[in-house]
Symmetry: D2
Subunit: 337 residues, 4 copies
């Protein structure tokens, strides 16, 4: 941590600040320039005292040096973490594709999608049982009924299940059916929910909030790891910007940035990232080329009948074609699908 003193601070202020630093058990290293005095503050967990120093008279600002995240930091663990789900390895050389409908609307549609995506090469099945919806008047998901259909689809196809947990009161129920528990973008900073899944022994797919910085994204993963659960998969799914041609702006640079800062796997959700089915193929190929460890794609047998996210869902045949295309890109960057 570095303390920068105000231009024109008094000698008395300077002495009080250094004394306070020493009283906190920390060591000050002083550099006096012509225009500014700066104090390097060295010691265990110095940053915890940031706000206390920040308000002392004579202090202009504090600059932290160390990252506030620890367990998710690549400095802490420098080998890539591979999250294994029923034998499917996420974070290794093979790129994994998660596919399925936005929400489970019924038994038939789910089984149709599951068979199709399995045939096309997807390795996990997604489907929402509890849906966060902007309007209270729209379809909110089938709840436990959906979980039963997911279990049936898994039984038939062998595809492990990815489904969202929205409310800590559903934790037990979702835990029972899910192979990967999804934390949605709107809950990325629902810290109680993060602690809840942090206490579980099950992989967590953590979606980036639409206005979350990468730093905040890392800190949310830190919540989960700090409770003991190391199996976290990052999922970038678009951030909110001024642009309106797309639903969100898919931040593909998050892939290499996250992989440099952390050891955890990173996947991309192009369906929410752009919100338009006709852009999904471009963005899927780009995600693979950028180094993503996986993709999560919405597939619906008849998007025009979907109860949610129809405009960003692919038909099964289009999804199968996309799988072919991304396989070629994966090979070009030395990976497989």
């Amino acid at each position: 941590m570095i303390v920068i003193l105000r231009h024109g601070h008094t000698q008395e202020e300077f002495e009080k600040i250094t004394k306070r630093i020493e009283d906190l058990g920390l060591t000050p290293h002083i550099s006096k320039g012509k225009e500014r005095t700066i104090i390097g503050v060295v010691g265990e967990d110095a940053i915890a005292h940031r706000e206390q120093l920040e308000l002392l008279p004579g202090v202009e600002k504090i600059i932290p040096i160390l990252q506030p995240y620890k367990l998710v930091n690549r400095e802490f663990k420098d080998t890539d973490t591979i999250v294994e789900v029923d034998g499917v390895r996420i974070g290794g050389n093979e790129i994994q594709v998660i596919a399925g409908p936005c929400s489970v609307e019924g038994r038939e549609m789910l089984l149709t999608v599951a068979r199709n995506i399995k045939g096309a090469g997807a390795k996990l099945l997604r489907g929402g049982a509890f849906k966060p919806r902007t309007s209270p008047y729209t379809f909110q998901g089938l709840g436990e009924e959906a979980l039963l259909y997911l279990a049936e689809a898994k039984k038939e196809t062998g595809l492990p299940i990815v489904t969202e947990l929205m409310d800590p009161r559903d934790a037990e129920l979702v835990y029972k059916y899910a192979d990967v528990i999804q934390i949605g973008a709107r809950n990325m900073q629902n810290f109680r929910l993060l602690k809840e899944v942090g206490g579980m022994n099950k992989p967590v797919l953590l979606k980036r909030g639409i206005s979350a910085t990468i730093m905040e994204f890392l800190m949310s993963a830190e919540y989960i790891l700090s409770q003991g659960n190391q199996k976290v998969i990052f999922c970038e799914r678009g951030i909110r910007t001024f642009e309106t041609e797309t639903r969100n702006t898919l931040d593909l640079s998050a892939v290499p940035v996250l992989k440099k800062l952390s050891h955890l796997p990173v996947i991309i959700d192009p369906s929410h990232g752009v919100g338009r089915w006709d852009l999904i193929d471009s963005m899927s190929k780009a995600a693979v080329a950028a180094g993503a460890d996986g993709l999560m794609i919405e597939v619906h047998p008849t998007p025009e009948d979907a109860l949610s996210d129809g405009p960003q869902s692919l038909r099964p045949e289009r999804f199968a074609k996309l799988m072919e295309e991304i396989r070629a890109v994966a090979r070009a960057v030395g990976r497989s699908i």
Copy 2:
């Protein structure tokens, strides 16, 4: 709802689209221009079928006409809603000030703040018992102990209590102590929590998410009203932009915009809005001039010792001075504090 057809659509596409509209029990009104054909779609709840029409061949896009919010809409109720809390009326001519520490750090500090803000003219006491914190390693609030201190402070000063509910599992506990239940910015789209407070007979202070549009803000209030609870207070507290001089960008235009679109009261939280104590007086005066129904301000006896939000907290004497200043502005715009 308006359906715009693609340039160069076929006659067959046109006919299928109009047939589908009629099959849905809706009435199409056709306007053929030189470049585009548009179809006005009239009928009960037409917009519910938006996504189904959007994906038909020949459709370029759909434009909704009606707002998706109903109960919060000024068209639904054209008189201002006044939310009453133990005799304090929020949304009327009198501007109400809510003050207190970010989090309740102990009994003494809370009582000190409560006495001071009461003396300066604040009408409600805020204080966090459960704190959403970006890092799992920082102070997370005293929990129920804090609620007991808040109750004691209320008993002594008579100030009603505003405190945050973060987790539906704490609903009963918070309900018992709070006079106004706060839903934090990070939970503005925690729809389960919104339904929970929607079922309570207690005022709700709903904070705007840092990346929420005003439309989404209105929809979140709609969740609460749709469950029966009409006592919602909007609180603008800064949105996330590219600017870094301030913690967030306080969107004061949200005050007149919300008051035009909705009948519910609107207050401003300048402390989070800018995140710097030295800007709070300017922004508080501006908020009152812009037409806000109230302010929520963080006050701490010794901000340099605060366990959270010290840099944006006012000392009691500064708060008292601010109260004098905003009283003058309130009078200038025909209101009182």
Copy 3:
């Protein structure tokens, strides 16, 4: 400037970095923490060498300490600058209102507006001769003809003229007619144009770019001052965010922030800031309460006939009423209009 070394840097890297610092004529001050080594770099214009140090092996990042702006910095000149235009003082206790049409559409309309705003208490007349328009197919301004009408309006009313310069090739022409030269938001980083007006002996009204940080805004003013012209007035007019209810998000916190960092006056343009005439009164009052030194407001005799910006223009009678309202707010904050 502070150099932060990578976790796990080698001793050799450390030595090369310190040697390079010394070779540049600068002094390194070293603080070795458990996790990171940091080097305070002290010396004349150290920051100019930032990028050269940034790429040395072993360097994680560089943190600048001093602000890159000098002449606009309040540390450089700690008394408020007052820009005087024909006896109208901008930046003093009196708040000045600039009003007029977006673009000068004709002689009659301009004279009508000029008389009206003068009667209501405005002190300067604005009007565009050259208009930056998003579409090449819309009205682009009357050019020199408009300048002649502005001169006539000035002659009759005595109001000094504020008008925009868009192209360095028009500099002489605009210089001849304008009392204050406006640099529009789209040209805030047109550095050649900034240098051009920096060489003139005439006040400059510098509008903030819609995506400019306050730091960049200060740097653009620095361009002008660095050429010798000290008469710069900052004008905040809304920044681009995700919100769509308003044309831009008016960042009123820019007022106190700019006044703390710089000695130059700051005015607000609520017309462009929100882009809706029905919000201008709220935002004007808020701007005055926030501490703005002036306002710039679009007034048109018949907004429904305006060739540009009709939806954000006030009718003369509404403007007169607004002047009354902001006078009251000005008094409440100890200022006059």
Copy 4:
């Protein structure tokens, strides 16, 4: 264009609005719903009257239907435009790479870079002669001297030159040396400059402003085409968002979006897009996979000595390696480099 009437409008308002529409020579098509009346307005250039209708009593809002851009619209010309520069075709099956230093700092460094990038397979040489710099105190480019070095490098290597025009007063000079004239991000809405290059018979590389919507980007190209110059190349180079890990957020979805809306070629500048050399390879591969027609990459012989943009420049050997990698990705998507 669609006119939406306010809830509760009067019959008289309705009649005045329809009369006004007819008086403007347009045809109103009326749809009366239970909650809203909407009027489809059909006729030549109806949208030009938007603001005039918008302010009539009873009107809630106007919704445009047609895009305001014409010549750049794919509806206007449905075959891909290929821009040819000295035999290099941009917009066809072959992906073209433009490389070179941010600014031409001297003769030797430029020749070194030119030879290297030519050897690695780049087809055009970039280099700035006039540099837009945030600070007036930093290197502003060598001006005409740089243009002479570029000419020499072209003579030796045969690589056509891409260089920026910042000021209309330099138009003749830059025209003489450049094979492609670059309009920088800060000048994307410098409409006078756009008109200037619109009148030239030379390809224009138009960079997207950091806060420009895709719609505004298209409109700026329309300025150029409307003056007769059809040879425009779009260049996405990052937009400004809240994220600070990268200098900008590279919006790769702009590639398919622009290609759907327009017939003009689209290239990507990953160097400015992310501002970090260590992310350029990921983002270059992603750009090619997303369908970009070219890349523009900053290369410097010794980035640690660069006078500008060192941190985002590649060394020649790294650039050569990158060329190999993107060739593989190009092949995977059916294209060549």
